[in-house]
Symmetry: C2
Subunit: 435 residues, 2 copies
């Protein structure tokens, strides 16, 4: 066993040690609990920790058979997911005292694979834009991003090796970028959302955070029911690999930190003999950012109809403004919007006949200062609306010394290929840090 | 006001009278409650009736402004939907004592439009195949169909004018056919499912039952947020109308009752100068029935993971068998299945360049005798998997005197055109009964 503190092991390495019984689930869990005890008062990543139940679960796992791919791994669960024995506030005072009676399907699948639900991580209000108390562990007066604020911060700060997120606009990729961890938003529609509080049904996607691509591959293997995601190859046929660098139509808003990371990645992958192409967004993608806002607003006003009608006084002004806008968009206009999205999906699909993946900004730049807002999801709206799988790769630091990176975007449904390429590219980009 | 008992008014007529204050919400509700008191012990359509809360709501509506399209209409709510103040059993003993703390989004939207949640109607276990106690009001030793058993029976038996259903295989169209009411399964993805217990996320669709197409148009207008569905035209341009009669690949299993209804509709619409075409299913649709079974099994085993893992002993053998089959289908195979579905969707889309709607069997025949099973959803599996909107039209009686009919299927997203045609076709077919 390594001399590293167990809580600093990445999930994939920890899983190997746990499966070989070279690390006990109890030791790993205690190490995570120690870290939480030392740091959570400052970082506020967790809003609930089920230490005793988690320890009991860890002991049971240590004394029984190896259960599955996540055997003995402590998981941070975004407080948008229901877990039996834990409160589920969904980031809203409406649900401050709510204890659900069933596990979210995604949580149950992870428990089946031996994962340990350690506690709930802070979410913004209903995964929208009103922040919770979480601070960015890289610099505590900066936002960790949202909506999966607590999960990104907890993984970045070594409180847990893996954590759940969801993305409706940019709620996995943006906090991953701001906190400097790997974030994975799977293809839309592949992971059950039962027991996850919904915001916008055409957009909400379950995913998660780790400290390496192999970590989120493990989580993906369980959630997508495809073991191959847990066995990403160490090497790729680099001759046949084509990476499309895509500035999108938003390049003007990308700041210098993102532009430097971009130029760096471009130069280095080119030098590594990878076919690097510049790819323009197809025409039908131009309106996607505005369409995403309309779709999200329309659906939020309807999905959260109960809260809008019965608990208006307990909703934030930000959320009320989103819903009020949504109420101006009727079903006929929403249908026309979705027809435009379908057209863009057809066009983007043909991009992937020319390149294997797109490399594109995750965020405007570093995590903004202040805790009153979670940053702009603008670079994620395209891909969430298109339903494409995305992986954020942290590999650089911005002008003020905070993490930045880029996201890889794959063909719908081809999460396996995306993760394989992401693992390889991430290894290349990280190896280059010390060139 | 008509001399009819208010509970026998169809929803559309009742809504007009309520909006004009020619009928009070209290009178309509009392009439429905009387009917339930007289009949529910026998039919077992409702498993919970919130009489006092509903009366209080009706009084408030009578003394306030007209709220919306459903002002004063009592609604039967399938017991798969959460409603505050009512138990939500989802048809399972696991949830016998479960009282949810929020309304399902679809229920909240109907309340916003003035609808009254009257009570919960019996569902099969988690909307799958294990029946509840509901009897077919047309002949009480026959199944009402499932899974929306109680809703179809309640509307057929004049207990409520409108009721919610959901369809994952054939759970709206089949009970509508067996009970002789109009059933409407909207296009997939257009109605929020928040607060509705899920079974298979690629399939589950919220819809409902009425006694006329205009009734379900009212419900659709609210649920889809498109008022035009509440204003279906009395007349259509019949010159440009093209109806595609589609036997599907399952014609051999359709019994004489369905074949007679089919031949009758065919002859009569032809005589009415409608362009009637025979349409064959595209090649890519041939495997859809088997694909539907695989998709439903794979997803049910994952969506209901919590119940499978923590409450196995309280699940029916039928549901366990479905999930056990689902566990043999991994994510890679599921992905390949969904790719086949995408291909079929593209091919069926081009059918709708040649015809406006498809007319096709709803069920094998009349409601089977016995309450141990809910009948075969086989004729619905195609359309649910393709996500197309469907309307069941009751217009005939089968060999043993029970209701039969056919379903109209429309282009994805074009619920408005489908409902307009369905209203017109239904009027024609019913007018012909007495030729």
């Amino acid at each position: 066993m390594s001399n590293q503190e167990p809580n600093t092991l990445d999930a994939w390495h920890a899983a190997r040690l746990l499966a070989r019984r070279e690390l006990s689930a109890v030791d790993l869990l205690r190490s995570c609990l120690d870290r939480i005890a030392a740091r959570n008062a400052d970082i506020q990543a967790f809003n609930f920790v089920a230490a005793d139940a988690a320890l009991a679960h860890a002991r049971a796992l240590d004394s029984g058979a190896v259960r599955g791919l996540l055997h003995g791994l402590p998981l941070g669960i975004k407080d948008l997911f229901d877990v039996v024995g834990m409160p589920a506030t969904y980031g809203s005072p409406i649900y401050a005292a709510h204890y659900p009676i069933a596990d979210a399907a995604a949580v149950a699948l992870c428990k089946e694979a031996g994962g340990i639900a350690l506690g709930k991580t802070v979410t913004t209000e209903f995964a929208a834009f009103q922040p919770g108390p979480t601070r960015n562990p890289r610099r505590t007066d900066h936002t960790p991003g949202g909506s999966s604020s607590g999960s990104a911060a907890a993984v970045a700060d070594y409180m847990v090796p893996l954590a759940f997120g969801t993305q409706t606009a940019g709620s996995i990729i943006r906090p991953a970028s701001f906190c400097g961890v790997v974030g994975y938003k799977p293809s839309f529609g592949r992971i059950p959302r039962a027991g996850v509080k919904g915001v916008a049904e055409s957009l909400d996607t379950v995913g998660g955070f780790g400290r390496s691509v192999r970590d989120v591959g493990l989580l993906g293997a369980v959630l997508l029911g495809d073991r191959r995601l847990a066995e990403l190859p160490e090497n790729l046929e680099r001759q046949s690999l084509r990476i499309g660098f895509c500035r999108t139509d938003l390049w003007l808003v990308a700041d210098d930190s993102t532009r430097h990371a971009w130029a760096d990645a471009h130069a280095r992958l080119q030098r590594a003999d990878i076919a690097v192409l510049e790819v323009e967004l197809p025409d039908a993608c131009a309106p996607l950012v505005e369409l995403h806002k309309s779709v999200m607003a329309h659906e939020a006003a309807r999905v959260l109809a109960d809260e809008r009608l019965r608990h208006r006084g307990q909703l934030s002004q930000r959320l009320l403004a989103l819903m009020d806008e949504g109420l101006t968009i009727d079903g006929a206009r929403h249908l026309a919007n979705m027809a435009q999205v379908e057209l863009a999906k057809k066009q983007i699909e043909s991009c992937f006949d020319e390149v294997d993946v797109l490399l594109t900004p995750s965020a405007i730049g570093e995590a903004p200062q202040g805790l009153d807002a979670t940053g702009d999801p603008v670079f994620c709206r395209y891909w969430t609306l298109l339903g494409l799988p995305c992986v954020h790769l942290p590999f650089a630091y911005g002008i003020s010394g905070l993490p930045v990176g880029l996201q890889l975007v794959g063909r719908h449904g081809d999460d396996r290929r995306l993760l394989a390429i992401a693992h390889w590219v991430h290894t290349q980009l990280n190896a280059m840090e010390h060139d």
